[in-house]
Symmetry: C2
Subunit: 360 residues, 2 copies
């Protein structure tokens, strides 16, 4: 097997922070070892700081970001419940699918790809939904949707937000914005390999949990009995201890740097990257004013074969960028500057490499 | 945070094979990188060899062993389906719970803790179940149940088998025994940290998949479109690339050693361990003739406080063993010699350490 050293500038995973390699090298702990439980507690506390929440139920789900999405829905949605879903990309579509599999009446509110959701339209879609669900940062398009107005206007509904690509990269304010359930993933702006889904749930949402989740594995009543020391560490499943140690280390990097400083670093990289790609003749596909700095969708210049150039970036430079999805497949790229990848040297290198390949 | 170096002789996780540390140290790959896809393909091929199957649908599920259990059920069980479940420990109980959450009519067939299931009783429990589900190696008791007779007598039913603690430690013959769905976990006899669930599904079972699984995350129709090159590598979720590399390395160790040699190593360790514990005045709780070598339940000698001695093993020797579950809690231990832990030096050390602590 070859052993390449990639610079990961696609939509995720990103290159992990160096502290993560150290964490993977530490001797493995059992899931009931007092040392591991202390590590887990501290991981949950670090997640609270990154999510900006005091929610007690804040923890890493033992699966990837999509398991976080499923955990978010299956614990609060019962058959027949109305769920309003904002859809402006692949992950909003996925929310509709997951909610439907819970038996929800899904009311979807669409916005065009590349545009943010209109919070007013989302709030007006139904008079009394049980859940309003939106994606904060659409990984398929690179668009940010404003969450605050949804929190102010949610009424009796639970506000469920996908922060997979936003957490650690741009401000996410779970408590201040009135978010009831947020989930994320480790492999984007937290700078940790894929495999865990940070999740936080408000007391208000916990009080409205379904009686018995259709998923045993993602049943937060059972999981919280293990994660919470107060509940007695009742065995549920074997926690993925190596991955939790990796997450702990990645979060340590983010918090040592400072969350605001990490946001500023992502912002600076995104700005330089987007300006540079425009100079190279690419089009920015996300609406101005709602562009994510950490995930940029670009339309390629006329006549350039995206797959050929993307392949050359990988083969000749060891740089991964992502192809577009859905209607944007074949004509666009998705470029991530996330976590440890959000560094000036990566922006400079990528722009120079693309320039060389295009002969500009 | 302290940084202890544990010898993991509980019911899992076990200490990983040294090759796993190397795999964790390799630079991270993206989930669509050709190098990763080759690694994933080879991981699936190695899993086929370890499961002894030619099933095309053989892959690691992106969650722990319990996610493997849930994936096994949610893809074949629809509301109203009859599922016969053999129950002789915690994990058979869990199967009943998971099947019930799929809406199954669960017919349970109990055997006492410490005893194997009676295949005849399981087969006689219902004339035409959709699924017959049993645990091959009960991690809560250390008992092996014979699978072959179930495969011969299953009729039209699908045979679903939990091989979490058996795979890599004792013979598991998916094709020869007529198993339709088997799942396992990485952190037992495969010598890899927890976080993935190897799974294999026969063509016969695939033909009987439910139309739409209640789980999006564990929907094997969608997952197989990514895992199978023939299906076009359609994106489902972001594969946990670091953990897959770790699994690949652990499986490499097992197959380089030889599966039969690995079984023999586990058998030799278990025999020495069980004889040694009897000499120390412990009782073996699993029925003679059905004892797992890799997972041993022992009742402590009269008057010995299990938690105190178990704590001393951890604090004074850095050795983890597990406490008993259920009715056996407080009076028993569960001792694993699994994967890289199944070595003579660990058996010798554990017996000597326990002897010292008990003053024998």
């Amino acid at each position: 097997m070859p052993l390449s050293d990639r610079i990961l500038l696609g939509p995720g995973p990103s290159n992990p922070y160096p502290e993560v390699a150290q964490a993977f090298a530490r001797p493995l702990l059992g899931h009931l070892d007092p040392e591991f439980l202390a590590l887990l507690d501290d991981t949950c506390e670090r997640l609270r700081r990154v999510f900006r929440t005091s929610n007690e139920l804040t923890l890493p789900i033992s699966g990837t970001g999509s398991a976080g999405m499923e955990a978010a829905f299956v614990n609060v949605v019962a058959p027949g419940d109305t769920v309003v879903v904002g859809v402006n990309g692949v992950f909003g579509e996925r929310m509709c699918d997951v909610a439907a599999r819970c038996g929800a009446e899904v009311v979807r509110v669409d916005a065009p790809w590349g545009r943010p959701l209109d919070p007013g339209a989302v709030l007006a879609a139904h008079p009394s939904p049980k859940v309003i669900a939106v994606v904060h940062a659409e990984t398929s398009t690179g668009v940010r949707t404003d969450i605050e107005e949804l929190g102010r206007g949610k009424g009796d509904a639970l506000l469920l937000v996908d922060t997979v690509t936003s957490l650690g990269g741009i401000p996410v304010e779970v408590d201040a914005w009135g978010i009831d359930i947020a989930y994320s993933a480790t492999q984007k702006c937290l700078g940790v390999p894929p495999g865990l889904a940070p999740l936080t749930v408000s007391e208000r949402a916990r009080e409205r949990f379904v009686e018995r989740s259709q998923s045993w594995y993602l049943d937060l009543r059972l999981i919280s009995d293990y994660v919470s020391a107060d509940a007695g560490r009742r065995y549920h499943h074997t926690a993925p201890t190596a991955m939790v140690a990796a997450l702990h280390a990645g979060l340590g990097h983010v918090l040592d740097e400072g969350l605001e400083q990490a946001w500023a670093r992502h912002a600076a990289c995104g700005e330089a990257l987007q300006a540079g790609f425009e100079k190279l003749g690419f089009r920015l596909l996300a609406a101005d004013g709602h562009r994510l700095p950490q995930l940029t969708s670009v339309g390629l210049p006329e006549g350039v074969d995206e797959a050929v150039v993307r392949g050359a970036l990988l083969d000749d430079f060891g740089i991964e960028v992502g192809g577009g999805l859905g209607a944007w497949a074949g004509t666009s790229w998705r470029i991530g500057c996330m976590g440890h990848g959000a560094r000036r040297r990566n922006v400079t290198l990528l722009l120079a490499a693309v320039g060389e390949l295009l002969g500009r």
